[in-house]
Symmetry: C2
Subunit: 316 residues, 2 copies
Amino acid sequence: MFREKIKVFDCTIRDGGLINGHDFDERFVRAVYKALSEAGVDYMEIGYKNSKKLFSPKEFGKWKFCDDDVIEKVIEGIESNTKISIMVDVDRVDIDDVKPKKDSPVDMIRVASYVKDIDKAIFLVNHFADKGYETTVNIMAISRALDNELTEALHQLDEECKANVIYIVDSFGALYQETVEFLVKKFRSILKTKEIGMHAHNNQQLAFGNTIEAIIHDANYVDGTVYGLGRAAGNCPLELLIGFLKNPKFDIRPILDLISKEFVPLREKIEWGYIIPYAITGILDEHPKAAMALRKSDKKENYREFYESLVGDDLD
Amino acid sequence: MFREKIKVFDCTIRDGGLINGHDFDERFVRAVYKALSEAGVDYMEIGYKNSKKLFSPKEFGKWKFCDDDVIEKVIEGIESNTKISIMVDVDRVDIDDVKPKKDSPVDMIRVASYVKDIDKAIFLVNHFADKGYETTVNIMAISRALDNELTEALHQLDEECKANVIYIVDSFGALYQETVEFLVKKFRSILKTKEIGMHAHNNQQLAFGNTIEAIIHDANYVDGTVYGLGRAAGNCPLELLIGFLKNPKFDIRPILDLISKEFVPLREKIEWGYIIPYAITGILDEHPKAAMALRKSDKKENYREFYESLVGDDLD
């Protein structure tokens, strides 16, 4: 038995782009799209839509901007039912860069927002929805959200926002499954007509387990990335999600091939996954940026010292 | 708040020994014992007690036999409240090799058994209990146990066996948390006076999540290994367990140091962890031996072909 409403959402290129300045070559992105299409994955998030007034295309790869013609080139000629998504961050997008849906290869736009920026997120989502896109709001860093502020934001989303899906985003990989259960039930109780999504990070090897937990309590949009690729500890491995879900439309084989041919070699060039400094920031509910800096330093394996540096602040 | 009854049980050397023929040098084992002692870990399982009539000490390292004098040498002079455990397999131990507890550094003996061998396990446990040891029965490959046979075995354990703890062992790393919940509740309902233990394998990155799930439903003995060391995909990472539990007696720092100094270099020499062929055997609820053989072959990264070889049998 399976729940047909469950949608598997791949964000390999988008979240993985946070490691390498969004600089995947077109051949690689096309290989990912082809494999996801063959595997029956519902959505592929291909990058961010950032304003070129704020970020220079000389400094970042093309998946930080996701021009429509670049997307069209990599998906051209591949038979697919996989929808294309892009992500926008509050305050970093120029809405005039986004054409009406009917003129674009993009199907969905996801707006990433902290709880405090929820009004801006709602404005963006409603704008994109009016242009014809499916939309979501992804509430970042939810492990740090104050409950009263989250409650208010969810009521606003329910009443004022055209998003189809509201996502729980465990940006720091800090959640344990009891809190996932609490949050999904809370979202479910307030959001009368919207689906709930789960985007987990893998600092404590809980991304997959927490995603299952969210599914158990009625989240229907679940994010994964191929081989767990993603910033720092990475994400819920898509191959495990496909292995778990019983919907016969999914086929794990193309993903296995893709990992063999593309992701095992890639892992030799860029680093992600279960690495102790990322586990430490997860345990301490901190952003991984200090751990990412450590991994680029000559103290990259000094775990105890790194831990002490994070817990050593004077109490006040 | 924490549950004081929870005991953290390290089996780094015992389960890790399945990778390298139990051939850790004494310096390394002593470093592990020292760090576990400083970290406040309750038990350390240091190896197996196998009969030297069945296995040759020329072919295997000393932690396959765990002579008392070898154990005494590595723990000597280290201040510690960490108890020492050894594991025995049904049909592989010579019970005359086991001295009375008062003459041995060993505190606990764990008997590993399939459901079908439960009568033999009960005999062994009662023998060791009569010699003065704490004892457990570890029910292996529980994802393959038929429910009626498991029910009968649990009733026997409740009525006839002197073991203090009965363990759920997910040998294949195949369980999802819904089944963990089912099993812990089942164990709890039948075993009136015994504690429940959880030993998870990490094929699908669920060892830690499933261990938390077992704790939620009242398992009080939880196994981990430093940096997840263990056969194939390895085990629940001890450092994550220590990071999760709130009992102030635990200190993660010595474990972090140990990983930096000993386990990061070790991982360069021997392989364990999240590797796709082990994920595949976990998804398919199979013993990892075929995947272990694959990893030693020149087809080690041929994931799709490996998957096909496991699912390709004719149905009957």
